[in-house]
């Protein structure tokens, strides 16, 4: 069953893989035959990627960026979950903060990066602030939804069995809302990665985004494309890792304490 699904999945992605191969070939040929500075052959880019990786030029910023991402998302998670849970439980808080959260979700908060730069300088604090600005509101929104998502009859059932509010919160509301919490975390990380790279490119000298700026400024296109490939893979990997973690946590939740 799972094998035939794998085969079906592969068959479904054939057109994409063919188009990808075609694009790669076109890139390589165009890069070799023309002399555009913006289009180094794909093989040169991959060679640059291998070279940068071997020299450790990428690993250090990668770790550095990951640390900043984890710090920012961690703060968003703590603060966001607290605010979101409060909004989910108490209607006055929900009504008071709702419009601000909604605005924070959709407004171009990236406009604050120049302010962060002036206040926090060209260091890690600025990009952490950017990560938080990008991720905290989605965590709040999902935490609030998570608390509200619980089936009312479950809470009433808890009351009827004499469960304390504390118990009802941890044993009924939190497990029932777990999928929404996890969705908030996943989206928080997805947005956080964007915040991270945005912040770094604008700060211009730290992390992966700093490398983009560095190679972009000197038109070292093979190295620039190599870094872009790393960032694409990094974004996909970060979101993928959190999704995987989320599935494990939710699956294990019913057996937990």
């Amino acid at each position: 069953m799972s094998k035939s699904r794998l085969v079906a999945g592969l068959r479904g992605s054939m057109p994409f893989l063919v188009s990808l191969a075609f694009l790669a070939a076109a890139w390589e040929i165009a890069g070799r035959t023309t002399d555009l500075i913006t289009l180094p052959p794909l093989s040169d880019v991959l060679a640059a990627l291998a070279r940068l990786w071997a020299q450790g030029v990428i690993t250090a910023p990668l770790l550095d960026s990951t640390l900043a991402l984890a710090t920012g998302v961690g703060i968003s998670l703590g603060v966001g979950a607290a605010i979101g849970v409060a909004m989910g439980l108490w209607r006055p808080i929900d009504i008071a903060l709702g419009p601000f959260v909604k605005a924070g979700l959709s407004a171009p908060l990236i406009a604050f990066v120049p302010v962060f730069l002036m206040l926090f300088g060209i260091g890690s604090t600025t990009r952490i602030a950017t990560v938080i600005a990008f991720s905290v509101f989605i965590v709040i929104a999902n935490a609030a939804t998570a608390i509200r998502a619980v089936d009312k009859s479950l809470v009433e059932m808890g009351h009827s069995f004499g469960a304390s509010p504390w118990r009802a919160f941890w044993d009924i509301r939190v497990p029932a809302g777990a999928p929404y919490f996890m969705a908030g975390l996943r989206l928080g990380v997805a947005r956080g990665v964007k915040g991270l790279i945005n912040g770094e490119v604008l700060i211009a000298i730290i992390g992966l985004g700093g490398l983009v700026k560095k190679y972009g400024t000197v038109f070292s296109m093979d190295q620039l494309y190599a870094v872009i490939i790393v960032i694409v893979a990094y974004a996909a990997l970060a979101v993928g890792a959190v999704s995987w973690l989320g599935r494990r946590v939710i699956r294990d939740a019913p057996d937990g304490p």
């Binding site: 992605s13 054939m14 057109p15 994409f16 188009s19 913006t38 439980l89 108490w90 209607r91 006055p92 009504i95 008071a96 903060l97 709702g98 419009p99 601000f100 605005a103 959709s106 407004a107 171009p108 908060l109 990236i110 406009a111 604050f112 120049p114 302010v115 730069l117 002036m118 206040l119 509200r148 009312k152 809470v155 009433e156 009351h159 509010p165 009802a168 919160f169 997805a190 990665v193 964007k194 991270l196 790279i197 945005n198 490119v201 604008l202 985004g209 983009v212 190679y215 972009g216 400024t217 038109f219 296109m221 620039l224 494309y225 870094v227 872009i228 960032i231 694409v232 974004a235 996909a236």
Partner: protein, 267 residues
Amino acid sequence: MTRSTPLMAGAGPHRRVLDSWWGRLALRLVALAAFLLLWQWAGDDSLPLLFPTFTRTLGAAWDLAADGRLFAALLATNQSLVVGFGLAVGVGIPAGIFVARVRLVDQVLTPYLTLLVAVPIIALIPVIQALLGLSFAARVTVVLLFALPYVVINTAVAVRRVDPALTEMGRSFGASRRTVLFDVLLPAAVPGIMTGVRIALGQALIGMVVAELTIVGDGVGSLIAELQGRFRVAPVLAVAVAVVIEGIVLMSIVEWIERRLSRWSTA
């Protein structure tokens, strides 16, 4: 209506007030006032390089507005938003319909669109800059790249989610493929498409700011750069707040249009 539980007990007596629009508005105004007071208290106006108070930021905004620089900058910046977002909607909706209706187009395009959604577009800006220079076209391209995938993906999902009974109904009355598309599928997909348009506008706004800050034109980007050079936080914050408020206003307008066009879909 949510039933009151012991953890929500505090909400009980206020229920009636909170259910009226003026009660909610009052509560929100109180929250806004508290936020501004907090801002005022956290600010420190002793040096221009410190986090400014609300009143100083307001003053800076007034100065920028009074000499017309703020509006001139916003006007210049918004040109890339209008063109880029317009292109995203104009190209994205037909493209989304193709993705929904033609399997091969779906299989080829969707992975790239998903990638564009996942990737921080700002990483591509040096490439765009190398190709198009520090031009208006480059800024439009950035806005387009931010917004387009959301329009296409949401349109495709909306068209695909249309109740198959509706298209069957259309066909049973002998409607042509064209009639089914324009009289049944597309109207039914409007709410979903509008959701995509709204999300795409949010992204386009981010794209507009990113483009301004990286491919500096004669808009907000250069204004911020100039103010930054003079180490004055308050006017920079004022410009940022102006952009954010503009974003909130535009989003509210699109959301209002979305609600109007989707009225029939919510009972």
